[in-house]
């Protein structure tokens, strides 16, 4: 699988993402600029975190309208893989590639802290290297990570088993305290119906090296490299 990173002005987590991808895939990802529309032979498009277009208007709103997003949409419609992390997740919801929206954190504060995520299903290209129900640590760093969708959409996501990760305690329990940004039903990440598009707020790519405190996020990239 050939990975590429889609880069918008104001994105600042692309280097972390490139390191995580290169470790897992054995070669560096192609960097795709926001004006490009030819994605060539890429199989996986990654939208990393940051502050595209200064978070003006709404997080991800401007990036969702760029030329490259037309190509990302076409790629997704062909069944290509897309991963959006943090601002990347916000961009995917703004572009309509994933349902719902990311609101201001319930406590209004930017949260920079580790959280624990529970893997809700492992029969996907993104999560195959985890055990069902596995709990892993991931750093989060966002001001707008409060997942929102109307009740019908939330029911559909749960009914179709499209919740990828939930905020939980270290022991894997869903509690209000573990859900620090106030996300609906403790949802941290969701899949598209064909399981080829994943968006999540926390940063697994920032925990792929023992020197940085752990490798909890590595299975995401190992899963993709093996898919």
């Amino acid at each position: 699988m050939k990975p590429g990173i889609v880069l918008f002005p104001g994105i600042n987590r692309e280097r972390d993402m490139a390191i995580a991808l290169e470790r897992a895939f054995g070669h560096a990802p192609r960097i795709v600029w926001h004006t490009e529309t030819d994605l060539g032979e890429l199989d996986l498009l990654v939208l990393p975190g940051g502050f595209s277009y200064g978070d003006y208007l709404r997080c991800g709103a401007m990036a969702a309208q760029t030329p490259v997003m037309g190509a990302v949409r076409a790629h997704a419609e062909r069944g290509g893989y897309v991963l959006g992390v943090c601002n990347g997740f916000q961009i995917l919801t703004e572009a309509g590639l994933l349902p719902g929206a990311l609101l201001r954190n319930a406590g209004l504060r930017f949260i920079s802290a580790d959280c624990h995520l529970r893997v809700e299903r492992t029969d996907t290209a993104f999560t195959a290297q985890w055990q069902q129900g596995a709990v892993f640590r991931a750093p989060m760093a966002h001001g707008d990570g409060n997942y929102f969708a109307d009740t019908a959409t939330l029911d559909r996501l749960e009914g179709e088993n499209l919740v990828a990760f939930r905020y939980v305690t270290a022991r894997g329990e869903v509690t209000p305290e573990a859900n620090r940004n106030g996300s609906a039903r403790s949802i941290a990440g969701i899949f598209s119906p064909n399981l080829r598009v994943l968006g999540l707020m926390p940063h697994p790519e920032d925990l792929v090296d023992k020197l940085l405190g752990g490798e909890d996020g590595a299975p995401l990239f190992a899963s993709l490299a093996a898919a």
């Binding site: 208007l57 309208q65 919801t93 609101l103 954190n105 319930a106 209004l108 106030g182």
Partner: protein, 81 residues
């Protein structure tokens, strides 16, 4: 024409910013303030001179970019520039 687009979070969408403003007003001693909602106002200067067409254009802009209709509602007022 000038178009003024007001964007607000939909009813039922938690507005922590509005809540914080309400609490601050109460802390300042302003009594009798109920729910507070915070939104955005976007003013557009349009070359269009026909009010009906100006409104339609501004509404299209709101649906496409200015508002996220998953979480926000909008209203458009048109006035002479």
């Amino acid at each position: 024409m000038k178009a003024v687009v007001t964007v607000m979070l939909k009813d039922g969408v938690l507005d922590p910013q509005g809540k914080a403003i309400g609490q601050a007003l109460a802390g300042l001693g302003f009594a009798g303030v109920g729910e507070v909602r915070a939104g955005k106002v976007i003013e557009l200067e349009l070359a269009e001179t026909d009010p009906t067409r100006a409104r339609a254009t501004a509404e299209a802009m709101a649906r496409r970019l200015l508002a996220n209709t998953v979480i926000e509602s909008f209203r458009v007022q048109v006035e002479p520039a």
